[in-house]
């Protein structure tokens, strides 16, 4: 059906989007690479010349690097475990016949639409504040000493806040996947005498495997670049400095652009490793 004419028209139609994205990718990326090989301190002397791989070595050998890696892994891992497990359970529950199912769905999904700065600040002040927060009141009501959430249990607190934001996403996707499961298949299993646990582990879970993979990969990409939640709650204090936050501080707060750019290149490589796996899953879908 496609003629030569429509092919060239198609190419014309593709051009704006392709050129824009190409520019968006290449220009800043080239600049980041360029800066990463320079000693560049905009506020203290500017461009001080080429330094080879110095920045790359200094970034990984600085005392804040490994703690930042650990923090990143704990946050990403913690949130993934919580959201996937609770997401599966919640999706199974919401798939059952319930009175007012639509309303419950709305309640469960709501946190995803709350902007990150709002959820960070609301949790920090209204819930985790050790004097006036909701939890503090609750703890005092049962005679316990209120917890200094964001300073004494900073990582668990952040994981809790971020999980609250991402649980709806996991639930919604897993629920969509469960509902696409053939009900006849489930009924057949039921008639064959498979109990609820058997049905879950041999029919539902294998069916969900793909959706879980997608949830894990997409969330990993977003979670690796979590920023606002840390920015408004601890600002990187109390051991909550992730790689993203560390690079942000190097680049904008201490204006050590060369060092920050080298960190940026590491972040890009890390994200690309995750992205390759995600693209495989998504790509498979294109062939169908």
């Amino acid at each position: 059906m496609a003629t030569q004419h429509s092919r060239s028209a198609a190419r014309m139609m593709m051009a704006p989007a392709t050129i824009l994205l190409l520019g968006w990718m290449l220009v800043p990326l080239t600049m980041t690479l360029y800066f990463s090989f320079k000693k560049y301190l905009p506020l203290r002397g500017g461009d001080l010349g080429w330094v080879g791989f110095d920045n790359y070595v200094r970034f990984v050998s600085s005392s804040s690097f490994w703690p930042a890696v650990a923090t990143t892994l704990v946050i990403v891992g913690g949130v993934l475990i919580i959201t996937v497990i609770l997401g599966v359970l919640l999706a199974l529950l919401l798939d059952q016949p319930i009175w007012g199912q639509g309303v419950v769905r709305i309640l469960v999904i709501a946190p995803f639409f709350v902007m990150p700065t709002v959820s960070g600040l609301v949790w920090k002040n209204m819930f985790m504040d050790p004097v006036n927060g909701f939890f503090a009141h609750l703890w005092r009501a049962v005679g316990a000493e209120p917890i200094q959430w964001l300073s004494q249990a900073s990582l668990p607190s952040l994981i809790m806040i971020i999980s609250w934001q991402w649980l709806p996403f996991a639930t919604l996707i897993l629920l969509t996947a469960i509902q696409s499961l053939d009900s006849e298949q489930r009924e057949a299993a039921e008639m064959d005498g498979a109990g609820p646990i058997g049905r879950f582990s041999f029919i539902i879970l294998p069916h969900l495997a793909r959706a879980i993979t997608v949830v894990v990969l997409i969330q990993t990409i977003f979670l690796l670049s979590i920023f606002a939640e840390i920015f408004v709650t601890t600002a990187g204090a109390f051991g909550t400095k992730t790689l993203t936050y560390l690079i942000f501080q190097r680049v904008l707060e201490s204006q050590n652009v060369g060092l920050g750019s080298a960190g940026g290149v590491y972040a890009i490589i890390l994200a690309n490793i995750v992205a390759i796996f995600l693209m495989r899953v998504v790509g498979k879908n294109l062939d169908r």
Partner: protein
């Protein structure tokens, strides 16, 4: 045999689901409550909060004191502007990939997706520097462009998956009936594409509204949308729970309502069609 469920079981699952739903929704519910209290009452124990007087005072104060509407307008312009601009660029691209696929279509789609994976912090300084040199730091136009670019892959992908569902035979039938290209576009394709475009717009307005990396790093007082404005509450002076609550409720309400309408599109858009 349809799945028959005893009333007893349905009652139990209903109670469980509602309990969990309310627990998850509780933080939002609680700031709605606090936003209708005075600052003095908002920091009392939950029981005292609930029994104290209800008032609109905080909403009035937030609007008077902090140019709330300026930031609200910024959010509207940035979210809508970036989305519409993105759709304008993406429709022709998605259209041609869906209807005139070439051997390279797949590769181009995957490459577009890969640009979405670029971590923002990796290119923070170059963008910051470009913004300074172009004189668009802390300007709405700058953010419109950046948010358009970061969401463009999602827009193209969503539109592509919607357009691909439009059967090609309909076009051929229209052509056989003697429809001109213009008529074909206007009366056949456009009506079929509008629901997909609308869903795409909806989801992307939500994403742009809530974006909180570039909006925090590229704006100051002038062009700050609500994400950045609310962040300025992170170092407050004195009592501010009720005001923070009121500002938050106003910032999330419009998007919460839009979000509830876009549940299905959310799954499709954010999984790039991998889960439907």
């Amino acid at each position: 045999m349809a799945r028959t469920v005893s009333t007893r079981r349905k009652t139990l699952t209903t109670i469980a689901a509602w309990t969990i739903g309310i627990v998850i929704f509780f933080p939002i519910l609680w700031i709605i409550v606090l936003s209708f209290k005075t600052e003095g009452d908002a920091i009392k124990t939950p029981l005292e909060v609930l029994t104290s007087l209800w008032t609109f005072e905080s909403y009035a104060v937030v609007q008077e004191r902090s140019d709330y509407f300026k930031h609200f307008t910024n959010s509207v312009i940035i979210a809508l502007g970036s989305t519409l601009l993105g759709v304008l660029v993406a429709v022709p691209a998605a259209w041609s990939m869906a209807f005139v696929p070439s051997p390279r279509t797949r590769g181009i789609l995957m490459w577009m997706l890969s640009t979405k994976m670029l971590p923002a912090v990796g290119v923070l300084y170059p963008i910051y520097l470009l913004f300074i040199q172009l004189g668009i730091l802390d300007s709405r136009i700058g953010l419109v462009v950046v948010l358009m670019l970061i969401n463009l892959p999602i827009i193209v992908w969503m539109l592509y998956t919607y357009f691909r569902e439009i059967p090609g035979e309909i076009l051929e039938a229209a052509r056989m009936d003697g429809a001109t290209l213009r008529a074909e576009l206007l009366y056949v394709l456009t009506p079929m594409a509008i629901p997909g475009i609308a869903s795409t717009v909806l989801l992307n307005v939500i994403l742009a509204w809530n974006e909180a990396f570039w909006t925090l790093n590229l704006t100051a007082a002038k062009a700050a949308p609500l994400t950045a404005f609310i962040a300025s509450y992170s170092s407050p002076e004195g009592l501010f729970y009720a005001k923070l609550s009121a500002a938050s409720v106003m910032a999330i309400a419009p998007i919460l309502i839009m979000g509830w309408f876009s549940q299905k599109q959310l799954v499709r858009g954010l999984t790039f069609g991998a889960v439907k």
